[in-house]
């Protein structure tokens, strides 16, 4: 391949300066690989090693190898399991909400409506905002004294973020608001790719809207919808910013918040590295399950 390109462009400026295609390729690839090793691979391996030690970054004490003790401590800690349970609940509420709202919006926008472009752009706005800003913004909206949500719903001084039973739903609602447009965007791409003749055939066969949706629309959009679900599940599992800003209820302490506190407030570096790996393994496992279903959906 290199020879072919050299033959095609014998007078290229690079060649005239003595740069071979191989050296140009290396010029781009070597810094990239070096960057990846320094900023991705090394921290990954270093944190893996740290997870088997009692290392605390806040002290000068050397890191001692303690084997699986950190993993044992975490997996036997009922508070960590509670954090995982809260996170699982949050992911379920949030992703389900985003799929329902996002796909619903896509169905609405997949028809001829006036100002469709403008409406689509406006609907995409939430996901363009910073998550920290969104957290502060919704904190004001939820405020029991002057928040607009209670005003419109006539809920008086209802405390969305102080009620331990409601706070997690309130936080998940913000995530749904912010990321439903992402699901909508991917769903729209999927819906527009459904061949029109299938609907025409269904119409000729007098198929009802229920049948059309479940036998034509959903199966054909399913692969792309599954991709949206994979992305959103991974992101929801890692949620930190707006949840941290919005509520400090024990019922809203997601695993990412616990991880942050353990690593940067308590400086339990070894223990928090182990927790980060447990989270990583869980996310990879869940993603693999999804990918398996994605492949099945594609095969159909």
């Amino acid at each position: 391949m290199t020879e072919l390109i050299s033959r095609l462009e014998p007078d290229s400026r690079a060649a005239s300066r003595g740069f071979s295609d191989l050296s140009i390729r290396n010029l781009f690839i070597i810094p990239t690989i070096a960057f990846l090793i320094i900023f991705n691979v090394f921290p990954l391996l270093y944190s893996l090693w740290t997870s088997f030690t009692d290392f605390r970054a806040s002290t000068t004490a050397p890191a001692n190898w303690i084997g699986l003790a950190n993993y044992r401590e975490l997996l036997s800690d009922p508070f960590i399991w509670r954090n995982f349970t809260i996170t699982a609940k949050y992911v379920l509420i949030s992703v389900t909400g985003q799929v329902v709202v996002g796909f619903g919006l896509a169905m609405l926008l997949n028809r001829k409506i006036p100002l469709k472009g403008l409406i689509t752009t406006l609907l995409l706005l939430p996901m363009m905002l910073s998550m920290a800003v969104v957290g502060l913004f919704w904190k004001l909206l939820y405020d029991p004294s002057f928040g607009i949500i209670n005003y419109f719903l006539g809920l008086g001084k209802f405390e969305w973020l102080a009620d331990p039973d409601v706070a997690l739903y309130a936080v998940a609602l913000v995530d749904i608001w912010m990321w439903s447009p992402f699901v909508m965007l991917l769903s729209l791409a999927g819906l527009s790719a459904v061949p029109k003749h299938l609907y025409e055939a269904a119409e000729i066969d007098r198929a009802g809207p229920f049948y059309t949706f479940f036998r034509i629309t959903l199966p054909l959009v399913a692969p792309i919808l599954m991709i949206a679900i994979i992305f959103r599940t991974m992101e929801a599992f890692k949620t930190f910013d707006h949840a941290y800003i919005l509520s400090s209820q024990p019922t809203t302490e997601l695993i990412a918040i616990r991880l942050y506190k353990m690593a940067f407030l308590e400086w339990q570096t070894g223990l928090s590295s182990a927790l980060a790996y447990i989270v990583l393994i869980m996310v990879v496992a869940i993603t693999n399950i999804y990918v398996k279903y994605l492949n099945k959906a594609k095969a159909r």
Binding site: R56, A57, S58, T59, T60, F79, D143, P144, S145, K157, E159, L161, A162, P164, Y244, S247, S248, Q249, P250, K261, F264, L265, E266, W267, Q268
Partner: protein
């Protein structure tokens, strides 16, 4: 081209030679972003005028203060020459080798007597009673209370209060009176509430708030020398104190589940609450009519006594330490020698800083300088602090985890919460080899 390159090298070499000389004339002090840091910048400008050494007070928001400071420490970074660090950092920062040992400096200048005793104990010494010092008390602070004088002095309110509780409405002298007054003024229908307290469980907000009740009820967090916790943290007095704090939460404005110093000042400036807990360092905003429309009607009082007459308050404030990775340690020592002088400490107080200098604190001039200085003066001689051990953050996490659901969520009982917390802390001290 060659001449250009030669000049470039010559310039770079000259610059490299200049750098050490220039850096010795510059010092950086790291602190959190709040008014006292601005006052300190004003003060150090005077040091620059006297010595030619430029001192910059670099600040960061309170939320990032600990993370940023320790990230720099862990990297052994020399970005900061001195730091005005929180009192509970003393253990972690000294055992971690991040602070310069100031014991000799302390003895040489007799700071144990020059500074107020409580400030020396909590801002400078670690371990407790060890005679080793890591900081110079810089910004004294503690938790006090502000209140609506006009509400308290309203004849109709006074009459109604006395009729209901059997004693005159006045600044609360005890925690029971504090609770009574909070209950009396709690009128959600009038958008008027009894009291504003700390509830934020992200760091030390809620714990500091609870400490005010705990210490004054005669309880303690444990024995700071033996690390004994059981029977002290969960004593009968502690249970009663936590119940009192939970009762106060019932009289807070709506949405008071994650509140700290900002919200508690707002409770007064927005006319929401009759009384509000806060650090004295945040009170200047309450006497300023530009930031508080009720400035003329705002009064202040020290944390009231508990049922047995004990009267303590949770310590805030910070000491100033030299960072061991600084390239300007000698210059930092010179600055500290200047900072501890009597006239500089007086000037520090004049600018608005809360000096820990005993003579300045005790002077009539200081006590009458603001409407809250007298309460501050009274408080600084009866303060207690949280654990300063390196694992303090883990102790804080456990405290937040156990206290918050009871105080804010009303889950379980005070006894259950404190028993569980005592067990957690015992476990933590065992883990770090402090107890067997």
């Amino acid at each position: 081209m060659r001449r250009y390159i030669s000049r470039l090298f010559a310039g770079a070499a000259a610059l490299a030679l200049c750098v050490p000389a220039a850096s010795a004339q510059e010092l950086t002090i790291f602190w959190a972003e709040w008014d006292p840091a601005n006052y300190l910048q004003e003060l150090v400008n005077e040091y620059e005028a006297e010595t030619g050494v430029v001192v910059t007070v670099e600040t960061t928001p309170w939320q990032d203060f600990q993370t940023k400071a320790f990230t720099e420490f862990n990297a052994r970074g020399s970005a900061y020459d001195m730091i005005v660090g929180d009192s509970q950092w003393l253990g972690a920062a000294s055992e971690g080798g991040h602070y310069v040992d100031l014991t000799e400096f302390f003895k040489k200048h007799d700071l144990g007597n020059v500074m107020a005793p409580a400030t020396v104990k909590y801002y400078a010494e670690y371990p407790g009673n060890s005679g080793k010092f890591w900081a110079i008390p810089a910004e004294g602070d503690a938790v006090g209370w502000s209140y609506r004088k006009d509400w308290f002095e309203d004849p109709a309110e006074m009459k109604a209060f006395e009729a209901k509780y059997g004693y005159p409405l006045d600044v609360p002298k005890t925690w029971q009176q504090l609770i009574d007054i909070a209950e009396f003024f709690h009128r959600p229908d009038e958008n008027r509430y009894g009291v504003a307290i700390y509830t934020d469980n992200s760091y030390d907000g809620l714990v500091m708030g609870v400490e005010n009740a705990l210490f004054s009820y005669g309880a303690d967090l444990g024995n700071y020398e033996t690390y004994e916790v059981e029977g002290i943290l969960n004593s009968e007095q502690a249970v009663a104190a936590l119940e009192a704090y939970r009762q106060l939460y019932e009289y807070t404005p709506p949405g008071w589940s994650k509140t700290f110093f900002v919200e508690n000042n707002q409770a007064i400036t927005e006319g929401l609450a009759a009384m509000s807990m806060n650090y004295f360092a945040f009170f200047p905003a309450l006497v300023n009519p530009a930031s508080n429309p009720h400035a003329d009607a705002t009064g202040f009082f020290a944390n009231p006594a508990g049922p047995d007459g004990d009267q303590f308050a949770a310590l805030g404030g910070q000491g100033i330490s030299i960072v061991s990775y600084s390239n300007n340690i000698d210059e930092s020592y010179k600055f500290l020698e200047w900072f501890i002088q009597d006239d500089v400490q007086k000037r520090w107080a004049d600018l608005g800083g809360y000096t820990a200098h005993a003579a300045t604190l005790e002077s009539e001039e200081f006590r009458n300088a603001t409407p809250y200085n007298e309460a501050f003066y009274q408080t600084m001689f009866k303060v207690k602090d949280f654990w300063a051990v390196p694992e303090y953050a883990e102790l804080l996490t456990a405290a937040n985890r156990r206290l918050y659901p009871y105080v804010v969520g009303g889950e379980g009982t005070a006894k259950e919460a404190l028993d569980a917390l005592a067990a957690d802390w015992v476990e933590t001290f065992k883990k770090y080899g402090r107890t067997e």
